[in-house]
């Protein structure tokens, strides 16, 4: 196991980024791995950009130095781009491919780059895994499981210091029986998607 593992999770408020970070933290505790999870709430619920950091192993700080992320996990393409400062050449950038256009584009004349350009840029910084998490989640039965799809992809990336089963177990804890099936499907869908790449 690597001495320190740093994961940056990003996305748009309300997409389950904070939930995903919390689940990673709980799985680490279950696997008896040292962990700190940092999140910024504040106005996140109102559709703003969200960043969480998860650090595992022999770590003291909840935050990581720039350019040292092992994984950048994003629920939205432009949010991966926004956090490119954490990435180095070997960083696995796992992102959903479906843009969520911020209101500044319509109202303040901000520009949302073409998705292909974003992917090209991300690939030049790290190892890109662009997956259609939204549709995998839809196929699994609920688009709100997009974060589960991405956690599945993360589990299959081989970066985590514990088995994917521990993470899945943590996802399925405390949720209704009917959502367990959907989440399991979403998780497995995410795992498959990254293996194909």
């Amino acid at each position: 196991m690597k001495k320190k593992i740093s994961i940056v999770l990003t996305g748009v408020g309300g997409q389950g980024v904070i939930t995903a970070a919390n689940i990673l933290g709980k799985a680490a505790v279950k696997a008896k791995v040292g962990v700190f999870v940092s999140e910024i709430h504040g106005m996140a619920q109102r559709g703003g950009a969200v960043v969480c950091t998860v650090r595992m192993g022999d770590v003291s700080s909840p935050l990581l130095p720039s350019g040292t992320a092992d994984v950048l996990l994003s629920t939205e393409p432009v949010e991966a781009l926004r956090n490119i400062c954490y990435v180095h050449k070997e960083t696995k950038i796992i992102t959903d491919i479906n843009p969520i256009i911020p209101f500044t584009v319509a109202v303040s004349g901000d520009h949302y780059p073409k998705v292909e350009e974003i992917f090209k840029e991300l690939s030049s910084h790290g190892e890109l895994y662009a997956i259609d998490a939204l549709n995998i989640a839809r196929d699994a039965g609920a688009i709100i499981t997009k974060n589960t799809v991405l956690l599945g992809a993360l589990a299959a990336s081989g970066v985590l210091p514990f088995k994917p089963e521990i993470l899945l177990e943590e996802i399925l804890e405390d949720i209704d029986e009917k959502y367990k099936v959907v989440n399991r499907k979403a998780f497995e869908g995410g795992m498959k998607a990254i293996k194909k790449k």
Binding site: N22, F36, H41, G47, P65, S66, A106, Y112
Partner: protein, 646 residues
């Protein structure tokens, strides 16, 4: 009334035969490790210490401390069990502190939590409370917010400890936050002084593993033993002040033996030292390791009063010292004074040498960069390669369907262009963003109406101020009384969405239940306003945009103070309610043949559920629409209509 009061205290005074409610946070499993948010860890620490009374006014980044108490209490109420403590979302931080102080005077253990600016509100109570001290242990949590993640300033509340004379603890990790809270009650009781537990966002909102300690059962029924020294008339105050100074000397002795202060060696340290506290310590420790430094770190957990002898000894053992603390040079200046007093031959690096900033949050990069400059070692971290593409901004915004947007839109239709819009603290501040741009000045809780009065004296421009309902109860009533008494020609708007939305939908005096999930007396905003003597009151549903515009026009025409109460529930709660009741959320669509692309809906109303598609047509994103239907009212061509049910 008397009965009500008795009843409300009932649960916190009958601990002997209670059955505890079981939740994850109240598990009595010593040694078990669970992941907790810093804020939850503080609550757990208080529960392990057998806290009797907890009070707050909600504010980010402190909210989850109280929300965790509330969740446990509500679950207990639901199960008809006793949570083992009394909890209250008070009307404001000052009242919250007074309630907990009174409980402490009766010998009960109490905790009051608030965001940093909340302590400004409570400061009148805080300053003199230190003179009389507490009886039962009392922890006052201040959650500071370096970088202003969700605040109007980044004041450093450690100065309140110095200012008022409160011993202060600063945790670096969630585990330490829990332990400092738990042990803090004992320290507070030993000293008969309330403690300030000073946290920052990066502690409040960090999750870490927590080792559970056994739960202490709350102790006893409180009893108030009369004591003339609690009455701070001048003669008493003069007696109490030297007592406080003596108590702080005792606090220093506790600091000497406290495990919260420690020296940590990295590599093979000789005469280079670092002094740090709070979350900065975690960056210091990791970066010192990463840069292969040979240093000793003095980690201060008790930062007021600092233990002079211990610190002097550390200073004397060093030829260079680096001070790493976020915001103000609170410890740095004290160390410089100490170094002068003991004529130490030491170079002190920190804010005064320009290696660290008084601004914003620190992070590992900032600390590594400063260390590499001071010690002339290589910073091992790669400089990030900036993106050649620019990401569009994504600031938070008023939610789709937010009733505040409808109010603002109606006001803009009613008011002359030069109208001044004083604002207040809450979601509605987000109306500052384009296209609404409805915010001209904002200072603090309740400031909207006070400033409105001032503008009416200073200018002939029209004034329409805005505050939320929770803010109204918190600090908005005195300026309304002031406006009535002095006949200021202002329109004061209360955006009454029946909740404290921004901080996570906590109840307030306008809701029919309290923080423990029990029925509570609902106080209507308009009744209070009427009681203040306001003669012109308009009550509107902002979702009736034309009527709302007309109401604001009438209010503007009225000479003297008028109040508009704009009543509509927070859309997030409304959607939640509909989902629970299995009511359908009405969706809307745009008839592309009628739409003239005038952009009123996007460019003036600014609902984030509306967007330009790639062919430049305007569309409604069904995954974002909350079904308020206000876009139907504002479309000048009638292009928007409800989708028919299938």
């Amino acid at each position: 009334m008397l009965f009500f009061f008795y009843h409300s205290l009932g649960n916190c005074t009958s601990f002997t035969s209670m059955v505890f409610v079981m939740t994850k946070l109240t598990e009595d499993k010593p040694g078990k490790q669970i992941l907790l948010l810093g804020n939850e860890a503080i609550t757990r620490g208080a529960l392990e210490a057998g806290v009797d009374v907890a009070t707050t006014y909600p504010g980010t980044p402190a909210s989850e401390i109280a929300d965790t108490f509330s969740t446990i209490a509500k679950e207990a109420t639901r199960q008809n069990k006793d949570p083992g403590f009394y909890f209250q979302y008070s009307i404001n931080e000052k009242v919250a502190l007074e309630i907990a102080a009174a409980a402490s005077f009766c010998g009960l253990r109490s905790l009051t939590c608030m965001k940093h600016v909340g302590l400004n509100v409570a400061s009148d109570t805080f300053m003199t409370y230190m003179y009389v001290g507490c009886r039962g242990g009392h922890i006052i949590v201040s959650a500071d917010d370096p970088y202003c993640h969700s605040s109007q300033n980044e004041q450093d509340n450690r100065y309140f400890a110095l200012f008022g004379g409160a011993p202060m603890l600063e945790p670096a990790t969630p585990q330490e936050a829990k332990e400092m809270t738990r042990i803090g009650f004992d320290i507070s009781e030993k000293l008969s002084l309330p403690l300030l537990l000073r946290t920052t966002t990066r502690l409040n909102h960090v999750r870490g593993p927590i080792t559970l300690h056994e739960m202490q059962r709350p102790r006893k029924k409180g009893y108030f033993k009369k004591d003339p020294l609690l009455v701070t008339v001048p003669a008493t105050a003069r007696v109490r002040h030297p007592v406080l100074l003596k108590q702080l000397e005792d606090a220093e002795k506790i600091s000497e033996k406290s495990p919260f202060n420690e020296i940590i060696s990295i590599g093979k340290p000789k005469d280079v030292g670092i002094v740090s506290s709070g979350v900065s310590f975690t960056y210091v420790k990791e970066m010192a390791e990463e840069l292969n430094m040979n240093v000793k770190i003095l980690k201060l957990g008790i930062t007021h009063p600092i233990h002079h002898t211990m610190c002097e000894k550390f200073i004397k053992s060093c030829s260079s010292l680096v001070m790493v603390e976020e915001l103000e040079p609170f410890i740095e200046n004290q160390f410089k004074a100490l170094a002068f007093d003991v004529s130490a031959d030491v170079k002190i690096y920190g804010k005064s040498t320009g290696h660290f900033s008084r601004l914003y949050e620190y992070n590992p990069d900032i600390v590594a960069e400063a260390f590499s400059k001071i010690f002339k070692v290589k910073n091992p971290f790669p400089q990030p390669v900036p993106s050649t593409l620019k990401a569009p901004r994504r600031p938070p915004s008023l939610c789709p369907g937010c009733p505040h947007r409808a109010t603002y839109y109606a006001v803009k239709k009613a008011a002359p262009k030069e109208t001044i819009y004083p604002k207040d603290i809450g979601c509605y501040t987000l109306g500052k963003e384009p296209p609404l741009e409805m915010a001209d000045v904002l200072l603090c809780m309740g400031s909207n109406a006070g400033m409105a009065c001032g503008f009416s004296v200073a200018t002939d421009q029209k004034i329409i101020s805005f505050m939320g309902d929770s803010t109204f109860f918190h600090a908005g009533i005195p300026p309304i009384v002031n406006a009535v008494h002095h006949n200021h020609d202002v329109v004061i708007t209360i955006l009454d969405n029946r909740t404290t939305a921004m901080t996570g939908h906590q109840p307030h005096p306008g809701t029919p239940y309290d923080g423990m999930g029990r029925p509570a007396k609902l106080i209507k905003v308009e009744d209070v306003v009427k009681g203040c003597g306001v003669e012109h009151i308009e009550i509107v549903d902002p979702n009736q945009i034309k009527n709302t515009t007309a109401a604001f026009k009438r209010a503007l025409e009225f000479k003297g103070p008028s109040v508009v109460v704009s009543k509509s529930p927070c859309i997030l709660l409304e959607v939640q309610r509909k989902r629970k009741a299995k009511e359908e959320i009405q969706l809307y669509h745009i008839n592309q043949e009628i739409c003239k692309r005038c952009k009123t809906c996007i460019g003036r109303f600014g609902c984030p559920a509306l967007y330009f598609a790639e062919d430049d047509s305007v569309r409604i994103d069904p995954s974002q629409c909350n079904g308020c239907g206000n876009c139907v009212q504002i479309c000048p061509f009638g292009a928007i209509s409800a989708e028919e049910h299938q």
